[in-house]
Structure formats: structure tokens, C-alpha cells
Symmetry: C2
Subunit: 350 residues, 2 copies
Amino acid sequence: MHQMGIIGYGGMASWHHENIRRIEGLQVAAAYDVDPQRVRAAREKGLAGYDSLEAFWKHPGMEFVLVATPNNFHMELAIAAMEHGKHVICEKPVAMSGEELAEMTAAAKRYGVVFTVHQNRRWDRDFRIVKRALAQGLLGKPYTIESRVHGQNGVVEGWRAHKVAGGGMLLDWGVHLIDQLLYLIPEPVVEVCAHLHSLKTPEVDDYCKVLMRFASGLSAQIEVGTYCLQPLPRWYVNGDAGSLVIDDFACTGRIVRANQYALDWEPEIVQTAAGPTRTMAPRPKETLATLPLPDAEDEADWTAFYRNVLAAAEGREALLVTPAEAARVFAVMEAAFASHEEGMSFKVHI
Amino acid sequence: MHQMGIIGYGGMASWHHENIRRIEGLQVAAAYDVDPQRVRAAREKGLAGYDSLEAFWKHPGMEFVLVATPNNFHMELAIAAMEHGKHVICEKPVAMSGEELAEMTAAAKRYGVVFTVHQNRRWDRDFRIVKRALAQGLLGKPYTIESRVHGQNGVVEGWRAHKVAGGGMLLDWGVHLIDQLLYLIPEPVVEVCAHLHSLKTPEVDDYCKVLMRFASGLSAQIEVGTYCLQPLPRWYVNGDAGSLVIDDFACTGRIVRANQYALDWEPEIVQTAAGPTRTMAPRPKETLATLPLPDAEDEADWTAFYRNVLAAAEGREALLVTPAEAARVFAVMEAAFASHEEGMSFKVHI
């Protein structure tokens, strides 16, 4: 049985702990936290709870370390774990900057350990449905992809509200939505344009919209809001043969496809509430077909991430979330911050 | 009774003709078209139908000329009308370029005539509802405005499909949506980022998304699609106190406002279909209030445009749609085309 220790036994750590109970051959055995209350909580869950990092490193048989602290401690702790020969899973956002990530990646190489980032949302059901719909050609060739997470609370909690800790929504949720897009679209990103707002959280962005152009011209957009009182759909994808909507994380939604070519009928100028229009005239219903979303339950499994890390450490599989991929995500996020600050977008090749 | 002549008696001309029947003191009396069939159609509607432009200019008592031809003929015909001392209403898009528009504007000044553009969608009911909701402070301070027109036909008809004629969706519908935003937000535009596609119409854009940053940081987006098989709402506006959705031109929709401050309750980490989240935890329903959209029927009157042109010609009112405003809209559209072609956005001051 392989042993894992967790640094930072807060909300996410408990979630990891629960998930890892379902992984054969891997168990969470130890935890370190600076907060005595969290050390006690770890002990109550049957873990060896450490308030000393030096003691934690010496936990017998611990091969894996999961770093789940605020962002600004990731690099130091991850590199320290690597120095102690541990394979490292780092929570997202993996670091404060692409530069920090590069140092972490170099350290992993130096110490010969596996290093990965918890980009678990690659296994979210909604994302897997989009991925499958595109792979099955249900939408034809996509030309716009919009990926939104619209919260309503207007509150960014704890360290996520602070710049010094690497908070803000672009780093917290944007990192997932960008990672998903880069994983979905096998093309370089050639433009990044971002608009951020700090509505209720002065130090960091609590709203971000990032428009990305891929090399083929495909236009993708992510949007993370914490104060969007009427959420728009989680996914909106238009292709040259159909359109996909996923309303929410519960994955209600549908695909609408054209079952006749546009020129098979003659749109006429109609009087609509919009005035006379031919271009925007309603399409005859019989020329459209509504399909259910493809099922993706079989792929929507967050535990796949841990199983892969274990297999990668044992040399049985290639790592699924690589430092190189995390570096691309960071490059997009840094281009987004720069775009917002400069007030214009940038040509990039990421 | 003031007399108007129409150049180009096609679909839009008939619509103008019908609308102007409701304007006291103004009537459509004559029409000129290069197509004999359209000349006959004008005559059947009781107009003096001309197939000679020289004869048309001499129509007795004609003070106003409305230009409703394809875009590439606007400048020449509008300036000719001005030379003949006519007040000119030009269909949108007013010209092929900002440069052409400047020539038209200079000609109007030279000949001392009124010159305006048929930006009738300033009086669309959906737009007036948004305008009123913002003016009444129902959303607080807006931070994102999204304005979409999603057609489903995938067909751009007639001259609008051709580059040489000044076609494409940015010029055809984008011109309205941008005009509305500039009319709504009394601030300079400081950034324009555009992504266009030509899905089914090779020569011109049949899809456009234009992201605009206003001087205060307000982020606005217009999107015109001709092949969006599942339309998103016509308007989506988020402010720091509420959110507005207008589904369609028929103006179904609602406003959702916060009736408690965010910090009045403590969001907790919840297990959602999205995994554990505090930021994106559902908000207690009792902290939100749903309001109907404000009524704006009283302002939603396309005939207000013509009445104002008549009053401006008589010196009773200032012109509502000015050449200077049209020039701003054109500057945004030209920045959008340039942004798409360059693959990056531009800082502007429009």
C-alpha cells in the first residue's frame, strides 16, 4: 500500500482524503498543518497529524505528498517535498506564476519524482460530455466555445480574496476552465484578451472573462463570475452542424442539429418583434433536430486522476496532467492578466 | 405636407413607406430604383416611380431622400441628393467605411442639409427596457453587458453576402448593436477585440463577436450569429446590485436583485455536482428578489426617428442620430475588422 501525506488539511484536503479511500493501493496516512485545529481534525480522521514539517517528512513509507495550502506556499512546500524524494501532487493554481512553476518543474526533474497538478475538472461530467460531443462530430466543426461558471454569492472567502496569497477567480476557477479548453482543443492559443473586475473583493478579480483565439480561428471564451445573479449556461458551443448547451453542473442540456441544409428552403423576409428580417427569420422547426447530450458517466471519474499519478510513479502509465500542460495554462493566465492591465490583447503562441 | 423620395424600393423601403404613413406632416411621394420591377411596385403603392435618377431629383416638392440601396451605393447617392438640396436619411450601415462617411458628412455641411442614419434600433423595445433598467438603477452599476442576436438560418441573402457591396453581419446587425451600446454608455470605448467567422458565406462574416472595453472598465460584448441553433438571450447585463435577462425580441425576461448584502449570511462549503465549493455554493433563495422588466412601451416607437428628422429639418429639434455618432460606430467597426485581421485587439479612444 502506497502512503500519501497531505500538507494543509483544510477543505480540499478532506475531499482528497475521501476520494483517495476509493483508490486501490493508495492511502492517505499523514497530514501536516500550521493550524493545531486542523492537525487535530486530521488525527480524528485516523491520520498521523503533524505540527512539525521536519517530523512530517520522516513519516514512515510516505512516497506521495499532496500540497493543499494557499497558493503562495505551493512552490516552497512542493520543492521541499521533492527534496525529500516525494512524488508531488499540487493543488491548483499550481503556483503564483509561470516562473515559480518552472522552478518546481526543474526540481521534480532534478530529484526524479513525479510532479502533477490537481486539474481534476478534466474529469468533470459536463466537460466530458462536451469532449465526447465534439469527438463524435455531433456539432460539426466548432467555431465558438463558451465556458462559464456563474456564482451568485459575491463573496470570495479566505486566502482566495488576497493578492499576496495568489487569490482571485482567474487563478481559482479560471485555471480549471482554461485547462479544460487547452486539453479539449489540440491547437496553439494565438490571442488572449481578458477583462477582469473586482466588484466585492478589492484585492483580486472576482469576475473574469477571457477570450482566446486558437490557431485555426476557433474562438473560445471563459467567464467566471461570483456575482451573476442569473447564471447563463455552463457550456455553449456552436459548430457548423449543430449547437450544444449544458445548463449546469447537473448536466441538463441538449444538442440541436440541422437536419436540412440551409439552402433547402428559402428564408423570406418576415415581420418579427425585431422588425422585418430575413437573416434572423425563425427557422422552420422541421429543419432542426434536438438530441440528448451524449452520456459520459464512464469517463466522469475524479479518481482517475489519482490512479494515474500512482501508475505514473510506478512507471506503468504516462502522467495525464503534466507540468508542461500546467505551464501552458499559466502562460494563458499570465497573458490574461497582462491583457487586462494593458487594456489590450496580445498575440501569443502558447 | 413634406415630401420624401426613396432610392432603392426594396424590402426596407416598403417598411419605411408603411411606417411613414403614421407620421403627421411627412409622406413618401416618390421612389427611384434601377430594377423596373421595383419601380412598378412603387407605382402600385401609389408613388411616383422613377427609373431615371435625373427625373427623380426633379420630383416636385421633394425635400427628403431616403437611401435604401445596397451599402456600396450609399455615398454616391446620398451626396448626389445633398447636391440637389435634399435632406438625407441613409440606411445602415451608412457607408462602406468611416472615410466615406466623413465625405458624406462634409457634403451635408456644405449643402446645408440634414443628414442622418436609420439607426432605428435605438427605439427597439428590448433596448429601451435595458436603458430604463440602468437609468432606474435596478442593476446598480453595470460591469458586463452582453447583447446578442442569434439567427439559425445560416444564410446571408442578396448583397449582404458580398464584400464588394459592404455586406456581412458586423456591418448589417453589428452596426445596430454597437450603436445601441454607444448610445447607452456615455463613455469612450478604449479597447476593441473582435473574432469573426465566415461559416456559410465565404466572402463576408456571418458570425461576429466584438468585445469592447469602456473607459470605466465596463466590459461590453456584442455577438451576431446566423448559425446559432440554440439562441442565447438577447440581453444579459450584470451590475453590482442585480442582473437582467431579456430572452428575445418579444421581451420576455426578468431582473434578479440581491435583497440582502452578501455578508449577511455565511456561505459554507457545499457538495455540489461541481464538487465541493464555497464560492459557487447556491445562494439562499430568500436573499434574491425577482422583478419584472420595466415597461418601456412608451419609448419603443420606431416612428420617433422620422418625426425627429422632420423636426430637425424644420429647426425645431436637435437631430437624434447624428453623423458624429455614426462616425463613432464606424470607428468601432473598423477597429473590430482590424482586430480580427491582426489577431489582436487595439487600444482606442472612440
